[in-house]
């Protein structure tokens, strides 16, 4: 299995004009070269997702959403693509805003908080493939890495809430800590079951398995349930309605980011949408066949040979995984703009008394299922 990093190292190492024993230079160059696309992806993702969020919410609410801000005078369409420059304007404005740090705040922690959250999201992308071989580094412990690194983010949230020296922020941080730690368990357990079936923690192996057999969503009723638990817990991990209690606007003003302004606040925003993308991509890879074409299975039943009909291949793979991820992100938005929010104790109830028992039972039953049918 090749990864983006491996290919780059080989490419650079093989170039004629690169001197011998230049491992250090190659290392630095490759690090920058692989970090750049991740950063660009996160930024772009946040911009597109915010625009999408505003438009989706607007259409659900009988409104139009942003319409007037365009790029170079081009405002998009009359209805659907209107206001296409909105998030660019938002981003530029946020960069140009005053950076306020409350006088009573703990300066160092206040500054470092958002960056820890951002760093966690950033590092998580290293392990997530977005196509066959399109991964920064293909760990053989991929799932473990992603879960471990993404849960570092909670430290940033707690630091931000604590350092702000604001009671609302503190409440937001406390709630967030409780929530993120609780929902780590169902996330891990529902993934454990896939690992059990496949016998590998590597993302590529999981997709390969699905290519040979079938998508995990359709594999057995237990894996379908695991998908639901994983996705719902994932929504909770990224603090979105109905689990958005850490930043519950009608209760805690803006939760742990109440005191943040401008650039620092936009980092929170960036990380939130990056985390959304992570959850959507992981669900797509693990349960929905990753970069496999949904048409592949269909045509294979007609015994057609591999061909263009399947729309398969490395670049089509990126297309399919994006489609799946965007669909899941849309579902998150759909839920957010439709449902009310849960109370903190009900949130804990859902995690500890519903998701975790079901996830545990799931592991047991899928084992039996595999023994009997696998």
């Amino acid at each position: 299995m090749t990864s983006f990093t491996d290919s780059l190292i080989e490419l650079l190492g093989g170039l004629a004009w690169v001197p011998e024993n230049a491992a250090g230079i190659i290392f630095v160059t490759v690090s920058v070269l692989v970090a750049l696309p991740v950063f660009l992806f996160m930024t772009l993702n946040a911009m597109v997702a915010v625009y999408m969020e505003r438009k989706v919410s607007a259409f659900m609410q009988d409104r139009l959403g942003p319409m007037e801000v365009g790029i170079f005078g081009f405002k998009g369409g009359k209805r659907f693509w209107g206001g296409i420059g909105q998030t660019v304007a938002d981003a530029v404005k946020l960069l140009g805003k005053e950076d306020t740090i409350p006088g009573e705040a703990d300066r160092a922690l206040f500054i470092i908080g958002p960056f820890i959250l951002f760093g966690a999201a950033f590092a998580t992308f290293i392990g997530i493939p977005i196509g066959y071989g399109l991964v920064i580094s293909d760990f053989n412990i991929g799932i473990f890495f992603v879960i471990a690194i993404s849960s570092i983010g909670v430290i940033g949230v707690i630091l931000a809430g604590w350092a702000s020296n604001n009671k609302w922020s503190l409440y937001g941080a406390m709630r967030s800590a409780a929530q993120m730690i609780s929902y780590e368990l169902p996330v891990g357990m529902s993934l454990l079951l896939v690992v059990m079936v496949v016998g590998s923690l590597q993302f590529h192996d999981i997709v390969m398995w699905q290519e040979q057999h079938r998508w995990f969503l359709f594999h057995s009723p237990f894996t379908a349930l695991a998908f639901l638990i994983f996705f719902a817990s994932g929504v909770a991990e990224v603090n979105r309605t109905p689990f958005d209690i850490p930043e519950a606007e009608s209760e805690l003003v803006a939760g742990y980011m109440t005191e943040y302004s401008g650039f620092r606040w936009s980092i929170f925003f960036l990380s939130e949408y990056a985390n959304m993308a992570i959850i959507a991509l992981m669900s797509a890879i693990i349960f929905l066949g990753g970069w496999l074409s949904p048409l592949g299975g269909l045509f294979r039943t007609f015994n057609l040979e591999q061909s263009w009909y399947f729309l398969e291949g490395p670049w089509w793979g990126v297309f399919w995984i994006s489609i799946k991820a965007i669909a899941l992100i849309f579902v998150m938005m759909w839920v957010r703009w439709t449902w009310p929010r849960l109370r903190p104790d009900q949130l804990m109830y859902v995690a500890w008394k519903v998701f975790i028992p079901f996830a545990l039972a799931n592991i047991f039953f899928v084992g039996i299922w595999e023994l009997l049918l696998g």
């Binding site: 959403g65 304007a89 530029v92 140009g96 805003k97 005053e98």
Partner: protein, 164 residues
């Protein structure tokens, strides 16, 4: 170094001017407003954000924390008990910040100017106001007009150039 930068900005420089234009475009394009509903006008402010008028078309998004807001829409009567809070919340907003005074009460005390012993006679006594929207209460269209006027005002601003 800093001095030389400022000196350079004082002359009209094409790059600085373009950055100015970019910042102004961005600031005018996303005036996130602080939900500062005080009285009757707050209902019209909510109506302006609701489907028929939809303030979000201009990029305006309601924020409930002053730190993240650009525009404070003072909608309604400011009383003396509230005046100190208005000032404090204004001070908590991050620069650049703007204030729209919505409705007669916030402009000048409105119908309460004569006998209202507990009413602040105009919010401009405590915070600087950029745009006054008249009416009691102003229609949502009037608030939108006020927002457009504010956008015009923002676009004439020169954030980097120091024009004396």
């Amino acid at each position: 170094m800093a001095v030389s930068l400022v000196n350079r900005f004082e002359q009209d420089n094409i790059i600085v001017e373009q950055i100015d234009n970019l910042l102004n475009w961005a600031r005018a394009g996303s005036p996130w407003y602080f939900q500062f509903g005080l009285a009757c006008c707050a209902i019209e402010m909510m109506a302006a954000a609701a489907p028929r008028y939809d303030l979000e078309r201009f990029g305006a998004m309601p924020r409930s924390s002053p730190r993240q807001a650009d525009v404070m829409i003072v909608a309604g009567t400011v009383t003396l008990k509230m005046a100190t809070r208005v000032k404090r919340l204004y001070e908590q907003m991050a620069n650049p910040k703007y204030v729209i005074s919505m409705g007669s009460c916030a402009n000048s005390g409105g119908p309460y100017w004569q006998y209202g012993y507990h009413v602040l006679k105009g919010v401009d006594l405590v915070v600087p106001v950029d745009v006054y929207v008249p009416g009691c209460p102003p229609r949502p269209e009037a608030l939108m007009q006020g927002l457009l006027e504010l956008q015009k005002k923002i676009k004439e601003d020169t954030p980097l150039r120091r024009v004396s």
